[in-house]
């Protein structure tokens, strides 16, 4: 078997028993990237030289038995997450030359235990998109069918994992950016509860919604990575003090006989829901029932308002956050004599159309006279969406839904219709607004061979339970 195809669990066993080295494993991933990246475009930056040096250092750690779960395992990182000494563009030309002097906290945790950074993954610029077509570094074709999109915004990370260019990836999810491409590419993606993992060092999009999570080949691998990156961080005041549970133990103690699964009826009556996606999701639910779980239809009546709330809250927070990118202190600066032109022209050249659109919507919705009608109204409806989830989780342990209404669509199909692209987030935006975890696991394929993803949503900080149910679905 080619080493780049291994899971974290398999790679760990091989490294620790001396069957192969981290240099062997890293070389296999770099070789695959070299063969495939021209077509798949999953990487904006590849760190060939430093990755091999890091792998050599990891081999010394392994030889000296200073082994942690991610020591010597090659991984890649969404380009909207800062990596010390490695260019981090966020897929925006305004940061084309930006080399962060620090690591995001989650990346620091991995690199400190000898994780091998292979490179930086393509994405929709600053996470703005559902297809990866809003990247200033080009789209990411789906490895299962290169005429289709990989999904977004973390399309490069999803494609890199699915195409075995890395062992796992770290990405970011605001309204579906991990789960959506995970479902399109047939891998596992977790949006953790807001506050579970540190956001320090990620390029902020909507600060009240952004989360950092892993993208892996199996649920078991997901639990391994989450164990290493979760927890409170003094550099992110929104991380919660709750103790990180032992996720591997939580996976093994799942008792389907005691589990009540909620099926939210609003999610299955969406017009755009593809029949094959619907049938796969219902089959996954049926299998859980056969394994002993109780299935209960539930209602989340605020579901139909989630996209409207999401696409007000996000551009408002986005436009404020992006104010920092003005060509003054770092990044690419337009050569202008007046300060106004320096700002306006640096931003003109450095942002793609969708980023500009969101800045404009946010600036409009936050301006005098519109603030109450848009932002404040959206924040109130957000409260009602949260109440929906609180109520439903008194009746059931988890919810099961499709991740996306449809499988991967054709490149170019929706790229000129922003509203159609926004509606793709329909099953993911509600959980994001409520701050609860959502896991996408692959479950079968369409007749034309495209992967289908099923989403498991749980109450706040129930990542262990959500992954446990995910593993039960994965193994059926």
């Amino acid at each position: 078997m080619e080493l780049n195809r291994l899971t974290i669990k398999q790679a760990r066993a091989g490294l620790d028993s001396g069957k192969f080295t981290s240099v062997d494993l890293t070389t296999a991933c770099l070789k695959r990237i070299k063969e495939r990246n021209t077509e798949i475009n999953a990487f904006i930056t590849v760190c060939e030289k430093s990755a091999l040096a890091e792998a050599e250092a990891a081999d010394v750690l392994i030889k000296n038995k200073k082994i942690k779960p991610l020591t010597g395992i090659p991984f890649s990182v969404k380009d909207a997450i800062c990596t010390a000494g490695v260019r981090s563009t966020g897929a925006a030309k305004i940061l084309d030359n930006y080399i962060p002097p620090f690591n995001a906290t989650v990346i620091k945790k991995i690199r400190e235990q000898g994780g091998v950074l292979l490179g930086k993954n393509n994405c929709d610029t600053f996470g703005h998109g559902a297809s990866n077509e809003n990247s200033m570094y080009g789209p990411v074709p789906n490895p299962h069918d290169t005429t289709k999109v990989a999904g977004g915004s973390s399309g490069g990370s999803a494609a890199a994992v699915a195409d075995n260019m890395c062992i796992y990836a770290i990405a970011e999810d605001t309204g579906g950016s991990i789960r959506y491409p995970a479902s399109f590419c047939g891998i596992v993606g977790l949006r953790p509860s807001y506050g579970r993992n540190s956001r320090y060092g990620i390029m902020p999009m909507a600060s009240s919604l952004d989360t950092v999570g892993p993208m892996t080949k199996t649920v078991e691998d997901m639990a391994i990575v989450m164990q290493e990156i979760a927890g409170q961080d003094v550099l992110d005041a929104t991380t919660v003090p709750d103790v990180v549970p032992n996720y591997e133990k939580e996976l093994s103690k799942i008792d389907l006989g005691k589990l009540t699964v909620g099926v939210p009826k609003e999610y299955f009556s969406v017009d755009a829901l593809d029949p094959e996606v619907k049938s796969a999701t219902l089959t996954a639910i049926e299998k859980l029932k056969q394994a002993g779980a109780t299935i209960k239809e539930v209602s989340l009546p605020m579901t139909k308002y989630a996209i409207a709330v999401y696409y007000i809250v996000v551009p408002c927070e986005d436009s404020s956050n992006l104010g920092r990118l003005d060509g003054v202190r770092y990044g690419v600066r337009a050569d202008e004599k007046s300060l106004y032109d320096l700002y306006a022209k640096s931003r003109e050249a450095g942002f793609p159309e969708e980023v500009k659109r969101r800045i404009l919507i946010g600036t409009y919705a936050l301006s005098a006279g519109y603030y109450d009608a848009y932002y404040k109204k959206a924040q109130k409806v957000r409260t009602l969406i949260i109440r929906d989830f609180e109520k439903v989780f008194q009746e059931v342990d988890v919810l099961i839904t499709p991740t996306s209404p449809f499988p991967a669509f054709a490149l170019g199909e929706k790229s000129f219709d922003p509203m159609a692209m926004y509606l793709a987030d329909v099953f993911m935006a509600p959980a994001s607004l409520a701050g609860v975890p959502g896991l996408s696991v692959p479950y079968g394929k369409t007749k034309s061979g495209l992967p289908i993803g099923v989403q498991i949503i749980g109450p706040r900080l129930s990542e262990g339970l959500v992954m446990g149910v995910g593993e039960a679905i994965e193994k059926n």
Binding site: P101, R329, Y330, V332, K356, L360, T363, K380, M419
Partner: protein, 95 residues
Amino acid sequence: MALSLEEVRKIAKLARLNLTEAEEKRHAETISVVLDYMNILNEVNTDGVEITSQVTGLSDVMRPDEPRNCEIKKELINQMPETEDNELKVPAVFE
């Protein structure tokens, strides 16, 4: 609700964003569609509902205000587009 070209220009100026004429037109069209969609929220009765601005339930997260050494000063300065004597250089703010 239709957004006029003039409104797009006004917001773009507030946001310090240069747009081409074609972009102004496209943004006016696409943003109008998005704003129209947002009207769906008027169906929801939110009388007496509190706003949500964060979901963790945490409040007043504090740390001691103590000076710390910045160990990446040189790297930070290296990222600046223009410097003079190790300081950031910008166009004049006042005429």
